[in-house]
Amino acid sequence: MEDVTQSLLDAVGIMFLGMGLVYLFLGVLILGIHLVARWCAVDVASARFAKNHAKSQQRVSQSDAKPLDPNVVAAISLAVKQYRSQIK
């Protein structure tokens, strides 16, 4: 009987130790996941910024590289003028 009581006390001790360690271990893991998530979020944000930046740069350079053709501008202006005079 005494043996069983002693074993029961031991088992209760193992329970507290075990649950404490399980919580501690998984608690540290939660912190770890949060840290990695924050690091990856910065990473993702900077990658997104770099991508957007590159895109807008590309757009600007595209418009710089191909200025509007004066003939096309003249043709469109003429067409608009004709259209307006027709309406009048």
């Binding site: 009987m1 069983v4 074993s7 029961l8 031991d10 088992a11 209760v12 193992i14 329970m15 130790l17 075990g18 649950m19 360690l21 399980v22 919580y23 501690l24 271990f25 998984l26 608690g27 540290v28 893991l29 939660i30 770890g32 996941i33 949060h34 990695v36 998530a37 990856c40 990473d43 993702v44």
Partner: protein, 376 residues
């Protein structure tokens, strides 16, 4: 006439003992549950057949030189089979839901309470005449509450090999019974309003996070709990193979062919432990009762922890997902989804329950490591 007598002496009928016939009936029952009822057929079918083979008189399957003897000796005594299965489980597991909502790890931790309460229960059973569980036996029985077959077999093979058959049968039977055991406990501990709570959609998880996760788990295990590294290490290896995306062939093999082959031999080897002298004892009855207690307490602890998280978060957590913390992937998560749908037809909790569900796998592996470190 002498020839006939010699033949008779070699037949099974002449040598059957009552215990063997009874154990064959147990094997047949397991086959029935697997084939007709669909209870964990992948494991219960080979275990049931193994039980039949192990009890054939004069066949020598389980004696030295017999096939089942070697399957047990090579695969289970050494702990290799459960570890290979764990690698496959790692390769099959997607941790996205857990990484997106890491707080669910607390639910996986809470559900391990079932293991430690059962440890006390097993020792308390010694007060009943006829039971004599040592602390190691009690720990091996308690791990049934982890609801994780490979973990239970691994720990039982290290701490109480003579109880392995009963423990494995109890673990897999109760895992199959999760849809029957869990819902009443879940309904008892939650209100209708709590069951109807809808949870926010989970964020997207980057590939980098998924690759770092198994490495981080392994790192923590190395630092804090080296006794759990066999289980956690193999699990993380499988998961890293899956998430790294560079070894698809290995990942697929671990998920399919390897896990299937090992399952066949693991089942047979466990079945070989279902011999009359080892199984037909009062202890087996005790193990079955304690296993049910372990599942019940684990489920209740998970739900209560989820209720606490619900209160603290201002009603953002549905307490039902706590029940998935007992592991038993993915059955427990599906049960949560089903009970959630009963309360609210538009409430799909499956993905939210997968977080605590895979957390439960980690939790039970950690609990097994702690028991090994303290008692092994």
């Amino acid at each position: 006439m002498e020839g006939l007598m010699a033949f008779w002496a070699e037949t099974g009928i002449a040598h059957f003992t009552g215990g063997q016939v009874l154990m064959m009936a147990v094997g047949a029952l397991l086959l029935y549950l697997a084939i007709v009822r669909g209870f964990e057929p992948l494991l219960l079918l080979p275990i049931g057949f193994g039980a039949v083979l192990a009890n054939i008189p004069h066949a020598g399957f389980t004696e030295e030189g017999g096939m089942l003897y070697y399957a047990y000796h090579v695969g289970i005594e050494t702990g290799v089979f459960p570890l290979l299965i764990f690698m496959g489980v790692g390769a099959l597991t997607d941790f996205s839901a857990l990484i997106a909502n890491p707080k669910t790890l607390l639910l996986g931790a809470a559900a391990q309470f079932g293991i430690f309460v059962t440890l006390i229960g097993a020792i308390a059973l010694n007060l009943v005449p006829g039971f004599e569980f040592t602390m190691k036996d009690a720990a091996a029985i308690a791990i049934i509450g982890g609801a994780d077959g490979p973990t239970a077999i691994f720990l039982a093979s290290k701490l109480a090999p003579e109880l392995l058959g009963a423990i494995a049968v109890a673990a897999y039977s109760y895992m199959a019974l999760v849809p029957i055991i869990q819902p009443p406990i879940m309904r008892l501990l939650t209100t209708q309003a709590e069951r109807e709570i809808k949870m926010e959609q989970l964020r997207e998880v980057s590939k980098k996070e998924k690759i770092i996760f198994p490495l981080m788990v392994l790192g923590l295990t190395i630092l804090f709990l080296p006794a759990a590294t066999p289980l956690v290490g193999m699990f993380c290896l499988g998961n890293l193979m899956r998430e790294s995306g560079v070894v698809d062939r290995l990942s697929k093999t671990a998920q399919n062919e390897l896990i299937n082959i090992v399952t066949i031999f693991l089942g047979l080897a466990v079945g070989s432990k279902l011999s009359a002298d080892q199984f037909l004892r009062l202890e087996t009855l005790g193990i079955l009762v304690l296993g049910a207690l372990a599942f019940g307490v684990g489920t209740a602890a998970g739900v209560l922890m989820a209720k606490l998280m619900c209160k603290l978060s201002g009603g953002k957590v549905n307490p039902l997902i706590g029940a998935a913390g007992v592991s038993a992937v993915p059955m427990a998560a599906r049960v949560v989804n089903k009970v959630g749908l009963e309360a609210n037809q538009h409430n799909f909790l499956l993905m939210h329950a997968m977080g605590p569900n895979v957390a439960g796998v980690l939790g039970s592996a950690v609990a097994a490591g702690i028991l090994l470190a303290v008692l092994g």
